[in-house]
Symmetry: C2
Subunit: 477 residues, 2 copies
């Protein structure tokens, strides 16, 4: 139990009634364990991180959230914001109990401003819906993560989510130009706007990005849109070995003069799991690893020029076969395989740990090599896939099926410590886009100095003096 | 005098001796008003913002800076970091006295890591030198501001400087992936690294960007580089009226599907001043305003396709003539005119105010129209130029030459209030890239709520408990 827990009060029937007065009775769940249980976990497969909230509240407005936060401060009740629950770090799990705030009722696209190329949305909008809505105007929200069809944009901002197109387009942070938020003490604050540049006072929007729901509750988000690329194509490059594939990545980036939209890596084990899960034929038997490279541009001719240059470089780097997918159907088939790796691996067993390592891009070969050694040392599977162009590699450390759960529980922290130390030694860190949350909190000191963590703590204390907003996440206060 | 001033101690000979012990005697200036005077101001033309430091210290290492900060905390001495002194908001002016820190001795490019496409530099490197150094590797630092030939990269980070290429490439913040800094209390802290993605704990790098030297002193900066565009061209589009030129900007951006590198606006008065200053022939007599549009890409053919599309759109939007500059010499001639507008206007009189308004891009026509009305109302010149593609317009409010200085001093605050209120009413703000500093501090409340400013204050108090790092800037604590 986190040390924070002692300082909080329970949600009493009286407090639940006060919350109901703020948001309406039918938007509060209280005293019904079965209805509360779905909010006890996110997408982490392991049950050890679960914690059922005492109360769930579904506000409709910033004012209602402000009311809840003032109540929670007065009564010392923890409040944990929860988006779609698609997180992978336990960030939305109420580990100190208290209230979980849902945003399913704050799901409107408030404005699509074509002339300024921005969208103003509520936090509960499913990310992909933004792109569906802006498509007809030739616009595009490029910051979305791989889980775009289920995740909420509010959660994307809270986690500073990345995605498959980050090589060219960056991650969420590049696109958030305005925020309305409720502070931990219940103030409603406007930041930024439909502005491309803004240096008026501190960069509080920057501070909020990736704060994992611990510094503010977003109620309105202004997102920069860009002109839709008018053409795109994907290359699927087959290599004999992961080492060859991985070594091709910095070569392609530094010598082509082209910035690809995406450079994804998949080892044979990851592709196989996903292809079998989807019943999709993809020539994984013949390749030790693959790169999936996306190019986009203003017309098909320019895209063709670019993918030819990159295809050639891949072959120079050792690709023995390069497939081109220049239409939606074929591209989507390949990307579906890439997107479903995590889910496919998740079906193997509940005993696995989803990881989000990031290193300087040129160190990926060493990272992959080191991961292989750790897998051998502990006799577990560590299939490897991810955003090679960003240096952001995902893996699922999968329990050896011969093991008892006890052995897994004892061994996993040692495996993770080895993995994280390897990453740190390569100048990398333990999360590129999933966040620290509860799951990686014990390991933060492996990659951040005590002084850096203390700076973060002091910012948290300054903005949340009673430590009630999503306590116990990232670090203990 | 700012209210902060009372709380500080003077720099005594004893304290100066202690500082000399830390950095070496010849790197401390003390007790010599003539030698201290150059550090009393930045590039703001007006003298009202000047304040001579009591002592100037020129450290060589993070450890030395740490020593100075510990001394300053113990003795309650204000410390103001100063880059090249090319700022336009008074940010580097020691308005509470105390010590000014110079970075001219911390001017090394420490590493150019081609495989990871990053450069690691000290804060005193002149920004343009980074691009000179990485050019031979086909790489490019895209975050630089217009003053690149004189400014320091440390100042760019402190101000989150923008630049002419921000439409396509963003501003400084997009490129800073790692920072080493000294905190206000003297701790040396490492943040980030050679990482494209990083969500490990709070985004402290984001918080530091644009913190105007009030939250940390940068000692090592890791910058993301990108592949150099292999071809580029500039279009100079002549319009009859500023309104026509300005109205063309959102049209070009939303309908072309192309993201230009830059879209700069210059009204006739601004071009005339600069062309005469440089003795450069440019057809300003015939145009009411011009757009300077840069395109870049991976080869000349693609650039040609793009500039033809954009040239056509400009003509549809009313450009009566479009010149293409597709070689370095011609491009440089045009850009020199654009870059020197500020300096040209500065030669007219010391009585002028350099402004940095930013609005949602589609509101630029209304901003320019409103600026014209304010100029007429007060009978002053407000020539207008800037980064139209970003909504970031510069101006110099120039004193009517018939006025006495007294009248100017009394009228300017009213002119600025009108300008800033106009900007705020359009959803804009008072600084896009120059910062608040000392100069815009009295007006912060026109664009930020009391709650937002209080959040900033509480962050400042948390990280700088004695309020000694660049006090009196942005807001009073």
């Amino acid at each position: 139990m986190p040390s924070e827990k002692r300082q909080y009060s329970p949600v009493t029937p009286d407090i639940a009634a006060k919350a109901a007065k703020i948001v309406g009775e039918k938007f509060v769940i209280f005293g019904d364990t079965e209805k509360l249980e779905p909010y006890s976990h996110d997408e982490i497969p392991e049950t050890r991180y679960a914690h059922t909230p005492e109360c769930v509240v579904r506000p409709r407005t910033a004012e209602e959230i402000s009311g809840i936060m003032k109540l929670a401060n007065a009564e010392r009740i923890p409040v944990t914001p929860r988006g779609a629950g698609s997180g992978l770090s336990g960030g939305a799990v109420p580990i100190c109990g208290g209230i979980v705030l849902l945003f399913d009722r704050m799901n409107r696209i408030l404005q699509i401003d074509r002339r300024n190329m921005v969208a103003v949305v509520e936090p509960g909008v499913v990310t992909n819906e933004i792109n569906v809505a802006v498509k007809e105007y030739g616009l595009f929200y490029a910051g979305y993560p791989m889980s775009l069809e289920t995740c909420y944009i509010g959660g994307n901002v809270a986690e500073n989510a990345g995605g498959g197109k980050a090589v060219k387009y960056g991650v969420t942070e590049r696109y958030v130009t305005g925020l309305e938020l409720v502070t931990p003490t219940g103030q409603i604050v406007q930041m930024g706007g439909k502005l491309v540049k803004d240096v008026t006072g501190y960069n509080l929007i920057g501070l909020m990005l990736g704060s994992e729901g611990t510094l503010g509750i977003f109620t309105k988000i202004t997102l920069k849109l860009i002109p839709s690329p008018k053409a795109s194509a994907d290359l699927l490059c087959l290599f004999q070995t992961p080492q060859q594939a991985i070594a091709a990545v910095p070569l392609i980036q530094t010598t082509s003069g082209i910035i690809p939209t995406a450079i994804e890596f998949m080892d044979a084990a990851a592709v196989k799991a996903s292809a079998e899960y989807l019943n999709e034929s993809i020539p994984y038997e013949r390749a030790g690893a693959m790169l999936l490279i996306t190019i986009d541009g203003p017309d098909t001719e320019q895209v063709e020029q670019q993918y030819e240059a990159i295809g050639e470089l891949s072959q120079q780097a050792g690709a023995f076969e390069v497939y081109v997918a220049d239409n939606y159907t074929t591209s989507e088939r390949i990307w579906r395989v890439r997107r479903n790796i995590g889910e496919a691996l998740a079906t193997i067993t509940d005993y696995q740990s989803s990881e989000d390592l990031v290193v300087p891009p040129a160190s990926i070969p060493k990272l992959v090599e080191g991961m292989g050694k750790i897998a051998a040392k502990y006799d577990v599977a560590i299939p490897c896939y991810g955003h090679a162009g960003d240096g952001n590699m995902h893996t699922r450390v999968v329990m050896n099926p011969d093991w008892a759960v006890d052995k897994w529980d004892q061994t996993l922290p040692r495996i993770l410590t080895d993995l994280y130390k390897l990453t740190a030694a390569l100048g990398g860190t333990i999360s590129g886009e999933h966040g620290i949350g509860h799951k990686r909190k014990p390991y933060l000191g492996l990659v951040l100095s005590a002084e850096a963590i203390e700076m973060m703590r002091s910012v948290k204390r300054a903005l949340d003096p009673n430590n009630i907003l999503n306590p116990g996440k990232i670090f203990d206060v």
